[in-house]
Symmetry: C2
Subunit: 451 residues, 2 copies
Amino acid sequence: MDIIKPRTLSGFMELLPGKQAQFERMLTILRNTYASYGFAALDTPVIEDAQILLAKGGGETEKQIYRFQKGDSDLALRFDLTVPLAKYVALHCNDLAFPFRRYQISKVYRGERAQRGRFREFYQADIDIIGDGKLDILNEAEIPAIIYKVFRGFGLSRFQIRVNNRKILSGFYAMLGLSEKSGDIMRTVDKLDKIGPEKVKTILLEECGLTEAQAEEILKFIAIRGTNAQVIAALEGYLGRSEIFDLGVEELKAVTANLAAFGVPEDNFAVDLTIARGLDYYTGTVYETTLLDHPEIGSVCSGGRYDNLAGYYIEKQLPGVGISIGLTRLFYVLDEQGLLNPELPSAPADALVLPMTAEVGPAIALAEQLRTGGLRVQLYGEQKKFKQKMAYADKLGVPFAVLLGEDEIAEGKCSVKNMRTGEQVKLTPAEAVEYILSALAAGNGPVILEK
Amino acid sequence: MDIIKPRTLSGFMELLPGKQAQFERMLTILRNTYASYGFAALDTPVIEDAQILLAKGGGETEKQIYRFQKGDSDLALRFDLTVPLAKYVALHCNDLAFPFRRYQISKVYRGERAQRGRFREFYQADIDIIGDGKLDILNEAEIPAIIYKVFRGFGLSRFQIRVNNRKILSGFYAMLGLSEKSGDIMRTVDKLDKIGPEKVKTILLEECGLTEAQAEEILKFIAIRGTNAQVIAALEGYLGRSEIFDLGVEELKAVTANLAAFGVPEDNFAVDLTIARGLDYYTGTVYETTLLDHPEIGSVCSGGRYDNLAGYYIEKQLPGVGISIGLTRLFYVLDEQGLLNPELPSAPADALVLPMTAEVGPAIALAEQLRTGGLRVQLYGEQKKFKQKMAYADKLGVPFAVLLGEDEIAEGKCSVKNMRTGEQVKLTPAEAVEYILSALAAGNGPVILEK
């Protein structure tokens, strides 16, 4: 038979079991946290009608999308979870209770040029709250509060959710008589971190055609820094000149006040007037999240408030607010930076039961007892020498081996061996469960260990 | 703006939130049960190199596969989880501990002709145990024992895992001098349930070219019925005439004995000599699982023992045993038959906190306290009339509403309203957690309610 060399496509993450166990922990934290805030799990198809996915159209998306024919169907793989959500809500809006809160943690597909740390298949972990016509400002604080909980759940504390409001930006540009140029200006200002204020000014003058005074006003505005209270105080100096600006400041004040009520420490969120988010889609609060020790990664979690989720599919006005974690990339970066907690057990089992007799009935029964007690238990059924059995336990990385020989069977006990310390004790099955569970609880730590 | 009518492609399951909650429960039971037996979670790409997925080739697969070009890559969507497993094990075999036990619960894609209850995108929930060169017979009992646990976990009891051994079949045909025709014969015998013994005999005589005596022997053989002990006793009457047959009987005896040791009641597994499984792939124990009250559905969980998992990708001999649940179809059928437990809460939250004051800080804090107590809590932040708030609670189907007005805030309490009975009590947040958790525990039942 001809052998075909096995490979996994570049740009597709495929983890070894130990790493996958870490990734699964993050998935579980995400699911549990999202669910604890009353979000419904949602699962939409990977394949959709290409016309529907591309309703908005636009450059990068059209280039990157995986699109193909099957029979006479024009199909494509989803490139995010927002467009399928829009389709879902438009299709099922009569059956949904609004505000509709859903989470979806699923893979999306973008045929980008492959490069280190860029993925063509990656998980997004999204939450959105969709209103029917209206949506209270409270939701715009709850969304980042949930993200705070998720990141803390991962074990992170050195992160910052940066918040701004698009109404403040567009109101401010209106004050300067620059409403029509606000898109170009925001895209330029967005580069501030990368190219610095001097270059930003040059572009504003030469490419956007601003006057010296206008450019200076903008640079002064985006240079506003300080505590959230200080930034808001500075913003209040501009009040009374633009209705939309004033509304934005009011919203920002509500969001920061409510974030504090949700228990998010000031260290973990900051008003940042330079954040605009590229998409025209957003109309109010916008978010980006950075790891303070790794600013080079950019935002690991972004989103914002929008006015019209599903305008391509339905007349109904569906405003919403949502946020998305690029999970595959985040995991890749955390792993690269050595931040995944190496102390967490990576084995698929808490205990490996090793029968030491030819008759395996007692070992089967013992393994079932340990499982009933709440342990993940693997039964090793291979007829191998003791040394080979222990070599398997080592390679698996299982924290405990449970040996069952003639003596143990006669006594109604089993020998529990701590694979790290080598310590071995003879216990009843019930005692063994207690012993192993308490040792595992002691070793429990966060998924991410900050250095 | 032009409106594009939203739709979901036919053959793709997309559930409303309440149904999705039921599906998620089944996923959780599957993950927990598979993990409790020491299987590692695995996640492989949906897209693979088409050459690799199609290494085996063959009619139906080539026709049904979703295959497309991107740039100069020849890509395809996985049509099962076994081929990606073979690739994975071949690619990573030096990093894996053998026997390698993995579970994968993921979507697969087959562009079949769409029809009711047939899906083009569907979940498979697979477990496999892969040995390096050898694999003990014990694993062939553990696999169906785990499936027993899963189905019981779902709430099912009226199901039967039917077990046979391909060595018994091929040994038996060898006794009759029919080894070369055994493939055709097995495919014919496989139709016994559908077409009856008379038609089977006709095909054996006319199409397979058997003699009257040979056909009679086969019909007599596959008519062997009774308890597992009776069937095995009947098989022992054929011993000594074919080595491979004798080995198969020995294996079958070991599997049935061990299944009993795993605690699987005889009602839930049966030796059934008519089961062959179509694929040449299987070489020993084979499984099918039927719902006793719904035989028309066919097998909902099938698999078996194979000798060579990854022969297309690697020289290494990798025998294994595995089984697969076609989860999407199973869920669809259970739902159609009205077997999903309607008593289980379908709401995304256990409690809906309704602030009755303009200031929402106390409600935010209360919701956080209830979450810390372990509840899934949704905070309703919309400024609506009381009646509209309760209408939302009703539509969401949430079991408890928690009202927080001036009085409650002053007393440090909240009003917990049972949405089903209408009963309302004023409790501290800690008492509210206790009260709601105990009510939820009392209402806890299986996902599936047999009639």
